[in-house]
């Protein structure tokens, strides 16, 4: 019983991070129908920024949160302007390989700069601390990350559904052609979607670095988890990404407890089953 509650709490906390990771992917897909294979690499960059700041500048990794988010925003916009904009007109295969190339480039750039060594953030206010609530004890950093994820989600939700900019973004995602005729700068909206996508995922990376190791190849796994999350929640749905993230977190923690060697296989299988049997996911349209 204790174990079960502990697992569920862990699952939900991990799940909230998965939700934040998946948010950007879902947003980019919703606005312009393109899948970003380099998503996990944006996350990795956020993780390395947190690692660098806490190791070389003796600063708390918490300081890196806004810096990572800003770097992610710039990386997202840069990727859109320099690469994605040029592959949009090409066939689907070219789009796929374009972002795939971006993924390889960022991954091996990190390999070149940081070597394949496994690193982790060692110092920080929250690193290694645990909170106990009765007989449940959880990492303080995971609780904090979950709170930040909730706040980030609320902020993005407010931006998309309550502001004029958000309305323009939604209009672009529903019908880009029509939105253009209404005077919406659709290219700017695409660029903004990549910026927000990059910022949220890099923020998630800086949070994740508190309790997860960093290597140049860490990105692929999280890209796949994000794909599974987005597929389950429904491509393009923000609420869907939120709820699906928690479900995926629970699946991973529970299956990891049962057969730890195959815990990621369960996530891949979830993706497969969802896209085959319910392609619009839980909340897609």
């Amino acid at each position: 019983m204790e174990l079960a509650v502990q697992l569920i709490v862990y699952g939900i906390l991990m799940g909230l991070i998965f939700s934040l990771i998946a948010l950007g992917l879902s947003l980019i897909f919703g606005v312009m129908n393109i899948v970003n294979f380099a998503h996990g690499e944006f996350l990795m960059m956020g993780m390395y920024i947190a690692y660098l700041l806490s190791t070389y500048l003796p600063m708390d990794p918490l300081v890196s949160l806004p810096i990572s988010a800003l770097a992610g925003y710039l990386l997202g916009i840069g990727s859109y302007r320099l690469l994605v904009h040029h592959i949009l007109r090409g066939p689907m295969v070219a789009q796929l390989f374009g972002t795939f190339g971006l993924m390889l480039f960022l991954r091996y750039l990190a390999m070149y700069i940081f070597t394949p060594d496994v690193r982790s953030v060692k110092h920080g206010i929250l690193v290694g601390k645990t909170l106990s609530l009765g007989w449940i004890s959880v990492d303080a950093s995971k609780v904090f990350s979950a709170v930040i994820c909730l706040l980030a989600f609320a902020a993005i939700y407010w931006m998309i559904y309550r502001t004029k900019l958000g309305r323009a973004l939604r209009a672009t995602s529903i019908d880009a052609e029509a939105a253009k005729y209404m005077g919406i700068d659709t290219k700017g909206m695409n660029s903004l979607a990549w910026g927000i996508g990059g910022a949220t995922v890099a923020l998630a990376g800086a949070l994740l670095a508190h309790f997860y190791y960093v290597t140049p190849t860490v990105g692929m796994l999280f890209t796949l988890i994000a794909f599974a999350t987005v597929a389950l929640g429904g491509f393009g749905s923000i609420i869907g990404a939120f709820i699906a993230g928690i479900i995926i977190g629970l699946i991973m923690v529970v299956s990891g407890q049962l057969v730890s060697e195959l815990k990621f296989s369960f996530i891949y299988i979830v993706y497969f089953l969802v896209v085959v049997f319910r392609p619009r996911g839980l909340f897609g349209w």
Binding site: M92, F97, A228, Y271, V275
Partner: protein, 340 residues
């Protein structure tokens, strides 16, 4: 029968410069081990032929079929494991182990293809990736496959034509060249066969193909099944060439990506594409990778790959072969038409 043979070996429908080019290529590969005597150079050549073999198989689904499959490594793994385990357990001759390897890979592909071809585009690509990764985790998890430790083949001395194990790379060179030619002529037959035309019609326009009476779903499933079987052939070769296999060597994600990338860079959907792509990327990988690795510059070779890939995706989705074809066409167009 005569028609079949001529379809197999004839390149009459291709322009003359292509036929001459291919003939020169064959001669060069035939005499290669007698010109290049360094062990490394020969190893590069064998790896090039191996990846050209993989590329030819992947071209079926990725080039002619237009479906991006990022999980070809699982089929390579099936072939490699079938060969290695059958030789270790029952001492089955190599040539017989090829067949179950290909059948297992094809059967698995068929079963997976059935639900998977309800998907298109990105969804399909990610699904293939997921399936390959699940298989890899299973092969690491299971005991009977040797788990993460892998399988080691018994070493035999001299030249053994039953188990295809040799001391000299010259034998391996002609061995893989033979497999390559088998598959190359099969592909040459395939692209002119009824199924080949159906597959290409489905790629170009599914609705139009369906309206002509082609069963789109069935065509895709058959195509994917054949691709799976062909992938296993190269895997069987890897088992007897490296004499040691584990899931990280024969079924990693990087292998799937490299196979797809060689074809995309060379030119998907052309019979020469895999040759050009493998001919560019494999030497680049082996020489540049070795040189940069010696200087402790890990990853630079893959960064160069990535840049090539992004430029190809943005500028010329038909790959290097697309560029060559355009240059030739411009040259051979009569002057009168040039202005129009």
């Amino acid at each position: 029968m005569q028609q079949f043979l001529s379809d197999l070996f004839s390149f009459k429908d291709r322009p003359r410069f292509e036929r001459i080019g291919f003939f020169i290529f064959l001669i060069l590969v035939l005499i290669f081990p007698w010109i290049v005597t360094s062990a490394y150079g020969r190893a590069v050549m064998i790896k090039f032929l191996l990846f050209a073999l993989f590329g030819l198989g992947w071209n079926l689904i990725g080039g002619y079929g237009g479906q991006v499959d990022l999980g070809q490594a699982k089929n390579v793994g099936f072939g490699a494991y079938a060969t290695a385990l059958m030789i270790v357990w029952w001492k089955v001759p190599f040539w017989i182990t090829i067949i179950p390897g290909m059948i297992i890979a094809a059967a698995e592909s068929f079963m997976v293809a059935y639900p998977m071809f309800r998907l298109k585009g990105h969804y399909f690509a990610i699904a293939t990736l997921c399936v390959a990764l699940v298989w890899k985790e299973l092969f690491i998890f299971w005991d009977w496959t040797g788990g993460a430790r892998g399988v080691e083949l018994p070493i035999r001395s001299g030249a053994d034509f039953v188990y295809m194990q040799f001391n000299s790379p010259i034998y391996y060179h002609y061995f893989v060249f033979f497999l390559f030619l088998l598959q190359f002529f099969f592909m040459n037959w395939f692209r002119k066969s009824k199924l080949g035309y159906e597959v290409q019609a489905v790629r170009d326009n599914e609705d139009a193909a369906a309206s002509l009476g082609i069963n789109v779903y069935r065509t895709k499933v058959i195509n994917y099944t054949i691709t799976g079987g062909l992938g296993a052939l190269g895997g069987s070769f890897m088992a007897v060439y490296y004499l040691y296999i584990d899931p990280d060597a024969v079924m990693p994600l990087d292998l799937s990506i490299l196979i797809a990338m060689t074809v995309m860079v060379g030119g998907a959907g052309s019979i020469w594409g895999p040759l050009i792509g493998a001919g560019l990327l494999i030497p680049l990988d082996m020489y540049l990778g070795a040189w940069l690795g010696a200087q402790k510059r890990l990853g630079v070779d893959f960064m160069i790959y990535a840049v090539i890939m992004m430029v190809i995706a943005a500028k010329e989705p038909k790959g290097i072969w697309g560029i060559i074809e355009r240059v030739i066409k411009r040259r051979s167009t009569p002057l009168l038409q040039k202005g129009s």
